[in-house]
Structures are given as structure tokens and as C-alpha cells.
């Protein structure tokens, strides 16, 4: 139905305030590697006026997006390779439990601090750590260049494997449009051809206009050669965070909603993670029985 070309990739990591860490006598050696260590650290850094670790609490596509990598780390998925739901499994249950534990232990807030403005929250000390994406680097650069912050990979559960997620916009041509061929050619010329102007456009977009990982090797190489990934944070995103990235899945609304309800009910309404995983898994399976669209990745 569509022709699409990605123009950027935006992986997620954990941001932290260097000032808060220094005040707590922490250093890079204290960066948590496991979920338990992460929650323990968040409890140390949390105060009455400061969230220890922010997981996205708002109901919607963005919350699902930030939650998926925690599920993948435990080997679970919304839809398995056999076309059936792989949601009612240990990996999904423990990821649901992680978000609930954050709230129950009092380290993760029920609403976003600073109205969701991560740079401001880290700058003003309203959050110690916050799971979010590479796009914040450009925001810091533009608005709060003096704020000291660091990033680290998403920690993993015991026995799990590192994974993160990357979203981002794409140029899309509608196959049912008036002239789909011309629209598709435009997309290719804009962000997909080997013409130097096209390569430069993507590199500019990802390193000058924004702070993203280029989805094209040629544009990534050009951006790197021009110093777009030379700052410690951008270099870390490119070399440490980005490997292990999986693209954001495009689930149909029914699957998205089943997972969203499971996250919300577990995280904020206190329901049992196993029960919610079972309900969502059954809902996804019921939907997949009559699903006739493209393969869900």
C-alpha cells in the first residue's frame, strides 16, 4: 500500500543528571547493568522533589514505544515468528512488572516531571534518570547547552539480552494516490538516492537540524566525517547504544491497544502483571485469527 524510506533513527537510552550523580558521590562506574541495580540506584537518588527514574507514564503510542525494548530483552514479543501472540510469556510479564515496581517503590512518577520536558527536568534536578531518545541531545544543545548530563544503555534483566528500540519519521508515498510513481521517485530523490545532494540532505537532517542516527550508511559516514558524532554523547549513541537496536514495530490498533491497556493497568492501576499479560495475549490471538494483512514484524 505504501512506499516508505526512513529519514532518521532515534534509539532510546537512559539519561541521567551528572550533577545529581556527583552530589550522591556516584561515578560512571556506578552505571547499572541490571534492572534490579537500576531500581536500587533510582531509590537512592529519589527525593520528595525529584523522581529517581522516569518511565513514560502517559497512555498512548509513545508509552508502548518506550516499553517494547524491556519486553524484547526477556525474549518476548507481541507477535511471534509463528504468527501467534508471544505476549503471555515471562519476558512480557517481567517487563510489565518492571514498570509497576518503579511506581510501587516510589521511584517512578505517575505523571511526567516538568510536564514531560526532559532537558528542563534534568537541569532543574526534578529527575535523576529518564528513559528517552536521542532527539533530546539536539534539545539540550539548543536550549540548555551548559547542563551536564550523561547516558547509558538500557540495563537488562538477569539472563536477558540487550535491546533498544529506534523510532523516527519516514518519507511515505501512498500507493493509492493520484501518481504513486512520481511520489515514490520524489521520496527516493529526497532521501534515498546516491546523488551527493540526497546523501548530504540526510546527513544534515540527522546531525545539524536534529540529533539522530542516519538510517543510510553513506549519510552516516558523511555525518561522522563532518564531526556530527564527535561529541561524547553522540559518539556513545552511535557506537554503544545503537548496536542492538530494533526498529519500532507498526502494530495494528487492536494489538497496540491490548498492550497499552496491559502496561497502564499494571503500572498505574496495580493489576497483576501475569493477569494483564494473559488478557492481552488472548486479545492479540483473537485478533490474529482473522487478520489478513501483511506480516507483522
Amino acid at each position: 500500500m505504501f512506499y516508505a524510506l526512513p529519514m532518521e533513527q532515534e534509539p532510546l537510552a537512559i539519561y541521567y543528571s551528572e550533577k545529581v550523580w556527583e552530589d550522591a558521590h556516584l561515578s560512571e562506574g556506578d552505571i547499572p547493568k541490571t534492572w534490579d541495580a537500576m531500581l536500587e540506584l533510582a531509590a537512592k537518588l529519589e527525593t520528595k522533589d525529584r523522581a529517581g527514574l522516569v518511565f513514560e507514564p502517559g497512555q498512548g503510542y509513545f508509552q508502548n514505544f518506550t516499553w517494547y525494548p524491556w519486553m524484547w530483552q526477556g525474549g518476548a514479543d507481541a507477535v511471534g515468528g509463528d504468527g501467534k501472540s508471544a505476549f503471555d510469556t515471562k519476558g512480557a510479564i517481567q517487563a510489565l512488572q518492571l514498570f509497576q515496581d518503579g511506581v510501587v517503590k516510589g521511584v517512578s512518577p505517575r505523571t511526567n516531571p516538568a510536564a514531560g520536558d526532559l532537558p528542563a527536568a534534568l537541569d532543574k534536578g526534578q529527575a535523576a534518570m529518564w528513559q528517552s531518545g536521542i532527539w533530546n541531545v539536539a534539545d539540550f544543545r539548543l536550549r540548555l547547552p551548559k547542563t551536564r548530563y550523561g547516558i547509558f544503555r538500557l540495563p537488562t534483566p538477569s539472563g536477558g539480552r540487550y535491546a533498544t528500540i529506534a523510532g523516527g519519521w519516514a518519507f511515505v508515498a501512498n500507493k493509492n494516490g493520484r501518481n504513486p510513481e512520481a511520489a515514490a521517485k520524489f521520496c527516493v530523490e529526497a532521501v534515498g538516492s546516491m546523488d551527493p545532494a540526497s546523501v548530504k540532505r540526510v546527513a544534515d537532517w540527522c546531525t545539524v537540524a536534529k540529533s539522530d542516527i542516519s538510517p543510510r550508511k553513506s549519510a552516516l559516514d558523511l555525518g561522522t566525517a563532518r564531526g556530527g558524532y564527535s561529541t561524547p554523547i553522540m559518539k556513545q549513541f552511535k557506537d554503544d547504544i545503537y548496536p542492538g537496536t530494533r526498529g519500532e514495530p507498526r502494530y495494528p490498533p487492536v494489538i497496540y491497544k491490548a498492550i497499552s491497556d496491559a502496561i497502564q493497568n499494571t503500572m498505574l492501576a496495580g493489576h497483576k502483571a501475569a493477569d494483564e499479560a494473559e488478557i492481552a495475549g488472548a486479545s492479540i490471538d483473537a485478533y490474529l485469527k482473522s487478520y489478513e494483512g501483511a506480516k507483522i514484524l
Binding site: 522533589d49 502517559g58 512518577p109 505523571t111 493509492n176 497502564q264 498505574l268 492501576a269
Partner: protein, 321 residues
């Protein structure tokens, strides 16, 4: 000095031509003339309602009979979208939330507005200032009001939690706790609307002849007796209007407040039907299904309005009530 002469001449000419013109035009009897006048007076409203309310309602119903892809593909599916409504657990949860919202908001808002109206009816110094102040929130955009309240209700730095902290109440997540979020949205909505309904009820209160109160005072009636036997019965037509319009507003006008405050969360606890329609249409691309829920909401609204009309005998009241 020439102008009056010219005016007189023109006037004379016009009056001399009048009978000839009148003779040519068809004669309308009084009933017909009144009919035409009524039609002309009603035309702006009828045309506006037809274009902006009636036509979209018909189109929305037609849309509800289709499955729409969002990219221009329409497939006729009859009443399948309506069947889907009854098998959708989120719809039931949303309907329940909507009913709780309406049942709390309408009486709560009415009582708050009536108390304010009784308060500002008193002839006290500076009462004009308070009338204006109470009305002011209604004159501000709902989005702005909701944003300000969101800041005031912030878990960490919100002024509400800070004030409660002074009296020893621990901070609450007013918009992040499913047990508090809907109640919070109701209170904020009442705060916005009570000034508007206060003005309407104040108008109704001021229409009550003072002679009744004077007679009651001579008879030694208490303040409660005054309210119970004079104010309340004579205020019924105004109360009917306030209840009807506030019920319709609660069913259909909650979108912007909910969108800014909670976006339907946490855990669907503020996902009222009007917001669920938005989600289905603009987040999930299910335009046909959203239109079907919209039609269902109109039916609910008609049922509520009919119930109010029936219980109040069509808004017609006599002083004997």
C-alpha cells in the same frame, strides 16, 4: 436650504408612485405575512443548523455503515460497526466512565452554581467584582484552563500538593492515579463552568418577584422555608435549562479538558465516550467505527434530553408546582 426642498419633492414623488407599486404586488393576508416574517426570522438558525449540525449528522451516520481505511477506501459493511460496539469491552468501560462523569458533573455543577448565584444575589459591597471573578474562568479557553490546572496539580511541584502539605496531607498524583483522575477532571470542569451557570441562575433568581419574599417575611418564614417554598419552585424553568444544557455539555463537551489533562488515562480511567471516538478516528484510523459510536452517543443524548423533558413536563412549570 435647497436640501429640504429636494427631500420634500422626492418624498412627494415616492408617495405618488406608491399606490401603483402596491397595486402590482400580490396581496398577502395577515396570516401569510406573519408566516413569511417567522420564516425569515428562523431562516438563519435553520440554515446554520442544517449545514453545520443536520448534514454532518446524516453524513456521520452514512459513514458508520462503511469500513474506512483512512486512505480513501470505503467498503460498505452495513451495521457491522454497530455490532462491533456491543462486543467492545473498552466501549463499555468508556460508557461507564461517561455515565459516572455526567452523574457527578451535572448535579455537582448545578449545586455549586446555585450556591454561587444565591451568594452573589446579596446586595453587598463589591458583589459586582465577585460576579465577574466567578465568571472569568468560563471566558478563558478550556485548553489554557486545563494547562494551568495541570501545572497546579503536578505531583512534585504543584501548588495543590504544596498547600495540602501544609496541613499534613501527603502529596497525591491527582492526574496519575486512576482512582483520583476522573474526580479531578470533574472538579476542574465544575470550576470552569460554575460561573456561566451562576449567571443564568442569577437571572432566574432576579426574576422572582420580591413581594413573595416580603409576604413570607411578614409571616415569619425562615431562610430555608423561603428557599424551599419560593425560590426553588419559581426557579424551576431556569433549573431545567441549566440541567439540560449542562447534561449535553457533559456528554459532548469534555474532549478538550480530558485531552489536555489526562489524554484518557491513566488506565482508561478518564476515557469518556467523546474521547474514545477521537481515539478510534484519529489514532486508530477507524473512522467508520468512530462514526458508529458517535451515532450511539447522539442516541444517549436524545434519551437523556427526553428523560429531562418528561420528568419536568417539557420544561413547562406552574407556580402551583
Amino acid at each position: 436650504m435647497t436640501a429640504p426642498t429636494s427631500a420634500r419633492t422626492a418624498s412627494k414623488t415616492a408617495s405618488s408612485e406608491l399606490p401603483a407599486t402596491a397595486a402590482k404586488s400580490p396581496k398577502l393576508n395577515r396570516r401569510q405575512r406573519e408566516g413569511w416574517a417567522a420564516a425569515l426570522f428562523l431562516a438563519p438558525d435553520v440554515i446554520g443548523l442544517t449545514i453545520f449540525i443536520g448534514l454532518p449528522m446524516v453524513l456521520s451516520f452514512v459513514l458508520s455503515l462503511f469500513q474506512v481505511s483512512g486512505f480513501g477506501q470505503y467498503t460498505f459493511i452495513g451495521f457491522a460497526n454497530y455490532q462491533r460496539i456491543f462486543a467492545d469491552p473498552v466501549f463499555y468501560s468508556s460508557l461507564r466512565t461517561t455515565l459516572i462523569y455526567v452523574v457527578c458533573l451535572v448535579p455537582g455543577g448545578f449545586v455549586a452554581s446555585l450556591l454561587l448565584a444565591l451568594l452573589v444575589r446579596q446586595k453587598l459591597p463589591g458583589v459586582g467584582f465577585f460576579r465577574t471573578a466567578y465568571f472569568l474562568p468560563f471566558s478563558i479557553s478550556i485548553v489554557v484552563v486545563a494547562l494551568i490546572w495541570r501545572f497546579m496539580l503536578d505531583d512534585q511541584v504543584g501548588v495543590v500538593n504544596q498547600v495540602l502539605g501544609w496541613v499534613g496531607i501527603p502529596p497525591q498524583s491527582w492526574l496519575g492515579n486512576p482512582q483520583l483522575a476522573l474526580g479531578t477532571a470533574v472538579v476542574v470542569t465544575i470550576w470552569v463552568q460554575m460561573g456561566y451557570y451562576m449567571v443564568i441562575l442569577l437571572g432566574g433568581l432576579q426574576d422572582i418577584p420580591t413581594e413573595f419574599y416580603e409576604a413570607a417575611r411578614i409571616d415569619g418564614a425562615s431562610a430555608w422555608a423561603n428557599f424551599r417554598h419560593i425560590t426553588w419552585p419559581l426557579l424551576k424553568p431556569t433549573s431545567f435549562f441549566v440541567l439540560l444544557t449542562s447534561t449535553v455539555a457533559a456528554l459532548t463537551g469534555a474532549f478538550d479538558m480530558i485531552y489536555v489533562l489526562t489524554k484518557g488515562g491513566p488506565a482508561n480511567s478518564t476515557n469518556v465516550l467523546i474521547f474514545y471516538i477521537y481515539q478510534q478516528a484519529f489514532q486508530y484510523g477507524e473512522y467508520g467505527y468512530a462514526a458508529a459510536i458517535g451515532t450511539f452517543l447522539v442516541l444517549i443524548m436524545l434519551a437523556c434530553s427526553t428523560a429531562i423533558f418528561v420528568t419536568t413536563r417539557g420544561g413547562r412549570f406552574s407556580y402551583g408546582d
